[in-house]
């Protein structure tokens, strides 16, 4: 499964990059009451609750490793999760681009493999769930970003958030 898209953050690239590496911020931002802890440089582990269509919400173990980090431009994210109803694993590439108005465009492309019951039963819904979760997560990050910017530095209202593709 490929999940890709673009998202505009109303803030400077350095700050966006920093937020994206902060386990506390990520825990807050991820839907499904994620709990993430840093277990090494760029390595996080935790859990998340996700349900897909007819498949009951369940606790998934989650590990995330950031690789090929080029602050504040890009990194790849190795994701591995498994739960009683299946697993997902794969890699996402994240590229941050500075835009002249001071905001940051994030381009992401994740190639995820989904397995187990969630693949066999939830197939029709997986794409939608992945897109929805991505959007919820990015919107939450965006809110966090705005909260952290000093009031004076807040750029004008951001353009509407791009639909994750």
């Amino acid at each position: 499964m490929i999940v890709e898209g673009e998202y505009v953050f109303a803030g400077p690239r350095e700050l966006v990059y920093r937020l994206l590496q902060d386990p506390e911020v990520l825990s807050e931002a991820m839907p499904g009451a994620a709990k993430l802890a840093m277990v090494g440089d760029g390595e996080y582990q935790g859990s998340i609750r996700v349900g897909v269509g007819p498949v009951t919400a369940a606790e998934w173990k989650l590990s995330v490793a950031l690789r090929d980090r080029v602050p504040p431009e890009s990194y790849t994210m190795q994701v591995d999760s498994s739960g009683p109803i299946g697993f997902t694993r794969g890699a996402a590439t994240v590229v941050l681009l500075e835009v002249e108005d001071g905001s940051t465009v994030m381009r992401y492309r994740a190639d995820l493999q989904v397995g187990g019951r969630v693949a066999g039963i939830g197939q029709r819904l997986i794409d939608q769930v992945a897109k929805m979760m991505t959007k919820l997560g990015l919107d939450a990050l965006s809110r966090e970003l705005r909260a952290r910017l000093p009031a004076g530095e807040l750029p004008p209202a951001p353009p509407p958030a791009g639909e994750p593709g």
Binding site: S82, G86, Q113, A119, G120, I121
Partner: protein
């Protein structure tokens, strides 16, 4: 003379129990103290197991035990090879049978890794999440050709290849045929198959009785006796200490054969170990992964013909997906290889196949068992040749049928029973003519033009097939006249809805001249009858039916001899009729069969030397060759080229399964088979992604045909009696499913002649048909205008 029952439309003896909900299926077994099982199954198609931590699951309240491969000790053994490869020269076979619980590696999604035993199924399933399996995912082998690439990951490292088998067979001289040919048609074909999807999932229950020292296993198997024999061997018990009961079974269709599935092997073992009765019932989701399936083949085939459409020879090279293990040997691809020749006179044939391991559920026979793959390739080649030669599809078949004078007919290649491919009897042209008449073939073109003028696209497809049925090795039956006057029949087969309780009763009733309702048949209980193989390859009625007949004839002999002694007359004067036996011409000198049975089992006086007590006989039947059933399917479809929806307007089957025991049952078998075939042609496909994950593992996404999708089947019977058995029987269980894909493809092409479609892939989903139509439009601008 006695009443005739064989050949009559007799209502079934077993129906009352089934209709009132009292028939016992395996999941209905409920015993005091029974524990329930659930299995931890792999989520990965291919992964190394780094470790398993079951401690939390073991500590959970209500959990009696958790077993992993390491807990099985010496009992952990790969399962038996069920069918060894045939003795073909140069054959390669890499044997890899399934294991009870994966130890180092998992090789398909759903492979069992651990077994949880708990006080209820709910508690057992709760505990599954507590078994932590640490996997190291490996790249999966999914596509057949990719599996053969030099750098492909290996399903079984020890072979150094994913090739499970290689078999080459030939008959005649194909190279010479090529030299003489005016036309050679050569194409690639894909034929994929789906789940058997019996409405009842699998189930196994077991009870060890320490006082009697015996084990009872209730199993949804088609072959209880081989399961009994195998379990006794594995568990170190005498065969007499193991009783396997296959009670009412909710559909078999192949995968419930003697598979020695992990659950089948583990439930009895754990019941003995824990000293508690156990039960495991598969749920539908598990069934999509854990029950064997049939799957794809890719054929590169060519046919050499003369200008006037006579086949000179065929060459076929194909790949066969065998899934992660190959316990059922080569039955499916051998069936494909042999059945391809069909009812035709093919002077030369070269066929070779490679069976390929992939990281998918095990492949074993499903109704048709590879025969439809062969039929599809043959019938498609004939259609393409006919198109190239400007011949009518019926005409090209007509020119190539084996004539009735050519029987018995031998091809120099080996069939699944390891005997040379042998056609015992057949009469093919009249079946085709009957089908043409029934479907109105002659007038169809006119009708087609008329409907076309109204903007409707209809087409006809008409194809032939044969099916080798009724193979050995043998079955047996015991027939007993009960003192009540009812007749008991026991045979070793399993029954999954075929109507054996009635068909065998008819055979025995006719021989002993009693009412069919008074013949009580038992199948599928090894304690009732302990010799036999099982229900597969459309052989039940033929082989066990012949054994029932032989046993009934022997009982009749005893009845006559005993009555002659009793009445002091010659045997020729004894008459058996209407459940009574007496002296011909003296109605007062007669006994009921029950009274005679009591005389035959005296409490005083001697049983004479050379005689036996009771009116009972056991007999066996083992045919040297199977018997060749055949038929023609004709279908009319309507296609909407805009939406790619296909509607079946008519479906005609002309079928020859030799002498009919009960037309009602035969028609039911054929109707059900056609529905299965239609599902396979248009609806049912197991969709795997690149990682070997099955994407449609529920009835929400994997579509079985419903009452809205299956047409009424119009049927005619031909009866070319089989010379190989006394009743002239041929099998019928699989026939309906075999040619449906080929007929469907021809009809869809015929409905849209201007598109020049070539349907070379089954199942043909609406989506795929839409793509074919789009591709045709892209290359032919006039179609776009026509469509617009």
């Amino acid at each position: 003379m006695g009443r005739r029952y064989v050949g009559e439309r007799v209502r079934r003896n077993e129906d009352r129990r089934l209709l009132t909900g009292h028939a016992m299926f395996v999941d209905d077994v409920q015993l005091p103290g029974m524990l329930h099982l659930a299995f931890v199954r792999s989520d990965h198609a291919h992964a190394r197991i780094r470790g398993i931590d079951a401690s939390a699951a073991r500590a959970r309240p209500g959990v009696a035990a958790v077993y992993t491969a390491d807990d099985l000790g010496d009992y952990w053994q790969p399962g038996p090879l069920l069918v060894p490869p045939p003795p073909v020269e140069g054959l390669v076979f890499n044997e890899a049978t399934q294991v009870p619980l994966a130890r180092d590696k998992v090789r398909h999604v759903g492979e069992p890794v651990a077994m949880v035993v708990a006080e209820s199924r709910y508690l057992a399933e709760d505990a599954l999440a507590d078994v932590l399996v640490d996997y190291e995912p490996l790249d999966a082998v999914v596509e057949l050709e990719a599996a053969l690439a030099p750098d492909a990951p290996l399903v079984h490292e020890r072979f150094g290849t994913n090739v499970a088998a290689f078999v080459a067979q030939r008959h005649g001289d194909y190279e010479r045929a090529l030299e003489r040919a005016d036309v050679v048609v050569s194409r690639r074909f894909h034929y994929d198959r789906g789940a058997a999807a019996a409405m009842e999932n699998r189930a196994v229950a077991a009870r060890w009785d320490p006082q009697a020292e015996d084990l009872t296993v209730w199993d949804t198997t088609q072959a209880p006796i081989p399961i009994r024999n195998g379990l006794a061997r594995m568990l170190g018990l005498l065969e007499s200490q193991v009783r396997v009961v296959a009670p009412f079974v909710g559909g078999g269709f192949g995968p419930k054969i003697m598979m020695f599935y992990p659950e089948e092997v583990l439930v009895p073992w754990a019941a003995m170990r824990l000293g508690r009765p156990l039960k495991w019932t598969e749920d539908r989701h598990e069934n999509f992964f854990a029950t064997s399936q049939e799957r794809g083949q890719v054929h590169d085939a060519e046919m050499a013909l003369t200008r006037d459409g006579r086949i000179l020879g065929i060459r076929d090279r194909f790949l066969h997906d065998t899934g992660a293990y190959d316990p059922y040997g080569l039955t499916i691809p051998i069936n494909s290889q042999c059945t391809l020749l069909g009812p035709y006179d093919v002077p030369s044939y070269e066929s070779e196949f490679r069976a390929v391991f992939t990281n998918k559920t095990i492949v074993t026979p499903v109704r048709g068992a590879g025969r439809q793959h062969g039929v599809f390739v043959m019938e498609r080649l004939l259609d393409l040749a006919a198109r190239e030669l400007g011949l009518d599809p019926v005409e090209i078949r007509r020119r190539n049928y084996l004539g009735p004078e050519l029987f018995p007919h031998n091809f120099d290649i080996l069939y699944q029973d390891f005997a040379p491919l042998y056609y015992d009897s057949g009469n093919y042209l009249p079946a085709m003519e009957t089908a043409c008449r029934m479907i109105g073939y002659e007038d169809f073109r006119e009708e087609q033009r008329r409907l076309r003028a109204e903007g409707r696209h209809v087409g006809v497809g008409i194809v032939s097939y044969i099916e080798g049925t009724g193979i050995g090795p043998y079955e047996g039956a015991r027939v007993t006249v009960d003192p009540s006057g009812r007749v008991r029949v026991a045979t070793g087969l399993g029954t999954q809805g075929q109507g054996h309780y009635t068909a065998f009763a008819q055979i025995v009733a006719e021989t002993l001249d009693v009412e069919v309702e008074r013949v009580h048949v038992v199948t599928g209980d090894t304690r009732e009858f302990g010799w036999g193989t099982g229900t597969f390859a459309s052989r039940g009625a033929v082989v066990a039916g012949s054994a029932c007949h032989a046993a009934a004839v022997a009982v009749r002999g005893k009845v006559v001899a005993m009555a002659a002694r009793l009445f002091g007359v010659d045997e020729e004067q004894v008459e058996v009729a209407g459940g009574r036996v007496g002296v011909r011409g003296f109605p007062e000198r007669a006994l009921t069969l029950g009274e005679l049975a009591r005389h035959a089992n005296p409490l005083r006086g001697a049983v004479k030397p050379g005689t036996e007590p009771g009116l009972e006989a056991t007999a066996y039947f083992g045919p040297d060759h199977g018997s060749t059933a055949s038929g023609v399917h004709a279908v009319v479809v309507e296609v909407d080229p805009e939406t790619a929806m296909v509607e079946i307007l008519r479906y005609v089957v002309v079928h020859d399964c030799g002498r009919l025991i009960n037309p009602l049952l035969v028609e039911g078998q054929v109707q059900g088979g056609v529905a299965h075939g239609i599902g396979n042609a248009f609806y049912e496909k197991l969709v795997y992604d690149d990682a070997g994950q099955l994407l449609n593992a529920s009835f929400m996404d994997y579509l079985l045909p419903t009452a809205m999708d299956v047409p009424r089947v119009e049927m005619a019977h031909m009866e070319t009696p089989a010379p190989m058995n006394p009743l002239g029987l041929k099998g019928v269980g699989e026939a309906g499913a075999i040619p449906a894909g080929a007929a469907f493809a021809q009809a869809v092409e015929d409905a849209l002649p201007e598109y020049g479609l070539e349907i070379r892939e089954i199942p043909l989903s609406p989506g795929q048909l839409f793509e074919l139509l789009e591709a045709a439009r892209a290359t032919s601008p006039h179609l776009q205008e026509a469509a617009g």
